[in-house]
Chain length 305, copies 4
């Protein structure tokens, strides 16, 4: 990346949708188009709160459920809203390599500081295929590429060894985001590279353990709902105040577990509505959080605040 | 379905691709468009061999890797090639419900006798969401819908109980394809419906066990390569010649295991080239079968023939 | 084995316990000693019903929960009760190799026709260790050894390839019992040995699929409760009456699934009490089936009868 | 516990064996009896190095492979060797509840400060059965009981919720050892009890993450081989020197991963021989570390020292 390396709290906004024709039918919709106005408002909130970077179109951003045109609209709107105030990392995931290349190129042209690439598997991919995918996307852009391991959503589990070999072989692959939920993977990444590879935690319930393991940052949608506690955790860790960090983490953990357990787009969109920012429901087959879940989330947000 | 119920060997053609601009680069390509001529030739072969139904755009047909326009082209070409000679079942899988609805409607208009619907998960889907997805697709068409359970590729595991409840609640959901690889699921489907629900086996290595369990048919790409043994197995089973069936099955099992283990589009496309029908490689990130694998496949085909 | 190979229904009796001092306390006990009288009565029932072989001290026989002296008592009593009327296979499982050797030797001296050996893992065993264990036990006796793969209870999963290599290398290892619940393993065993290796199914819900795959027999505790249907299934299969076999199997499947799901010692002991043979409860930490489960089992037995 | 709570590095000695009759045969033996002299020497080493507590007869101590008499001998020898210099926790694991009760009572009479109880499953245990097992053992002694969750070796996975409910219901169940390898379990334990329940980490590669999560101690066999680095990690953590702690942890991590991956009794015994303390091999079916593994371990020990 030009400029300083990515560090700290990397915030993942949802992609808001306008109600659409069938909006009412399913208690929330998601069949409308991208609501760029709400997206802009959300990005502003995240930056105003102090987040260190913005990452639109991640898993939380329902990237997988958008057609190309919608994806372009969301990418442009998010990057325009950031307007260079903090670094940006745009999520790129597609079942085909050519689709991922197309989106990565678009993101670069639109001004992204980096792209985060998740290989998606319908048919099981072997190492040769995963390597071909990442290499093709990295070759198509000049911005830095962050490898993203998230077996639960992508269906591909990238071993630390494979990721390190990609970092070593491809010049602009320079970062790793680990969302497998296993902190031992992070220690292995550190060990395999003598601590030289910046890695980022993408599993909310591992936030404290990941910082202890030396993570450069935390990729999270939680700042959409509880930016204060999330930033306070990071501050305490960086200040070496680990007892405070643990206390701050324990207090926000119920929210972190809840939003992950219920699916991030579903729960974070419900939470944003509770906080007064209307962003629509998730796109079907995802359904809006049900009333009992919404009531529970309201309680948890109140307790964490 | 209008007419008799689906029965026997339901053959899954691959979707052939033209070489495309980058075809040479990656030893086989897959970046060109749909090769309708080769698709027509393949469908003819399958029907001439005696297959009882044709199912284009299944997992083997790389449905997940096609854009809408390509998908429409493949669906139309396959249905035109069949020309009513045998029943057709068109595979419908999309990460979004609206995409699945769009494709199902297209298939019906293009003359499909039935659609096979696979829910695809990026975010984990709960029962409410799976039910909503299937119901929306079924409501959008009048042809019969086959529920398709294939947790390994779709990321969603549909329990026999959930599938039976969908069959009971939605009028045109009338069949189940089981590809979990666990024959106990089939026995449970039979037990839960007193044998009234036609179920189809989609796991090649389970073919014999599934027929023993009462499967109405076998959904398989194997007839692309070894139609004779596949049809002979079915004939022996229906004639009650189980010792012969076991022998015929054992002889073809190495091919069945190989094509499944290596990924069906990858291996079946390589096998078709070996048999003289050029269909291009699979679409990237999938890569063509490597030379060692191709040599092994040639041996297995020779031994099974 | 001297004499004809093992074939058909191999019945697994439970090991009955006398009430013991603390019997009343926990609603059923299991802390008393081996009730040889009830064991003899149970063996008689199984043979009278027509079972083709008796296998005491399997998983169902709570072999893992007996001390050496109790185990010897149960082995002797069961073999004496059989009195050569049908072949016998005695289950041998111990965490240590020396314990397994000791029990296998005892079984041979007491007249067992064969021993069935399950490696039990506390620490994960590699192939070298598993091979050493089986070889040591086989070398210690002259009777045939049946390899027993049951990863769910033993913690070791024996691949078909490993088992076949053991059969090839060790003269008196001559049979395999497969309880992984995956019928594909059986087809692989058949394929790897050109059908020459007798294999036996140990997973009740796979009974029909296993016979279709060519299993020489079915190792099961179900004859303790429903000997008629179990034997009728075998008869129909051997007569080539597969439609009848499927019907007979479907009717007994609810019982098979229930007794497996609830733990065989627990449920079979409860069922025997329902049928008028008092055999005590299972040994703690196992607890007797609760009243709701017992009521459900009574219904299922009535329906299967 | 009487006196201060258990804290810090809780060291797990192996159980040394004398060569035995067949010692030479299998390259290391394990068929001899307990070598109390070597056990005493090992305990002395661990205490001299500064370990805060000693826990004989854990998984590392091959507790599962000892008969009762050997187990008693090892327990007595270890407790005598400690001679009250540091607290002791004796591991109690048995497939039967009565066996676990017998061993726990013996440990208490022999002077153990606490017992650590691992439920072992042959048949899957439900919550009622697990609860019955722990309650019976706890009721049989007056010393504090540490619940031990180690699904990989025991076959039972204890949820944080179940463990907390046992702590709440049974007076002398006062501590938890977590070896599932998932740090999120520890955070949940802390959250469910507002930090009041002392929990201990039993997964070596999680040592740093566990301390960050608030673990009261680390239960580990590593001090048998690298006491210095293990104690230095603990010191740095308690001093709040997290950067140093991370560095110290990274340096010892290759040893931690190696000894866990190869099985603790196997690798730790090989390592002790390398360090000049002859403790025999593990008991069969476990086999001594092979020469290549031993050479690798020697390198890793040299690098970590």
């Amino acid at each position: 990346m030009t400029g300083p390396a990515l560090e700290g709290i990397i915030a993942y906004p949802v992609t808001p949708f306008t109600p659409g024709e069938n909006g009412g039918e399913n208690g929330g919709g998601g069949d409308g188009g991208v609501d760029t106005e709400a997206l802009t408002a959300l990005v502003d909130r995240l930056i105003d709160a102090g987040c260190h970077a913005i990452a639109p179109l991640g898993s939380t951003g329902e990237s997988a459920y958008l057609d190309d045109q919608e994806w372009y609209t969301a990418a442009e709107a998010a990057l325009a809203a950031v307007a260079g105030r903090v670094p940006t990392v745009v999520g790129v995931a597609d079942l085909t390599t050519r689709g991922a290349v197309r989106r990565a190129r678009f993101a670069e042209r639109a001004g992204a500081d980096a792209v985060m690439v998740l290989p998606q598997a319908y048919w099981k991919l072997d190492e040769r295929e995963v390597t071909g995918h990442f290499t093709a996307v990295a070759d198509a852009v000049t911005v830095p590429v962050m490898l993203y391991n998230n077996p639960a959503t992508s269906g591909v589990d990238l071993s630390p060894e494979l990721m390190v070999s990609l970092v070593e072989r491809v010049e602009n692959i320079t970062m790793v985001k680990e969302s497998s939920g296993d902190v031992r993977r992070m220690h292995r990444l550190a060990r395999l590279t003598d601590g030289a590879l910046p890695f980022y935690n993408g599993s909310n319930p591992l936030a404290l353990a990941a910082f202890a393991a030396g993570a450069a940052g935390w990729c999270t949608a939680a700042p959409c709902l509880i930016p204060g506690p999330v930033l306070e955790l990071h501050r305490a860790v960086r200040a070496g105040e680990w007892d405070l960090a643990r206390e701050v983490f324990q207090r926000q953990l119920p929210v972190l577990e809840f939003i992950l357990g219920g699916g991030l787009p579903t729960t974070v969109k419900a939470g944003l509505a509770l906080l007064g920012l209307e962003v629509g429901g998730p796109r079907r087959p995802l359904l809006p959080l049900d009333p009992a879940g919404t009531a529970r989330l309201a309680e948890l947000l109140a307790a964490a605040g």
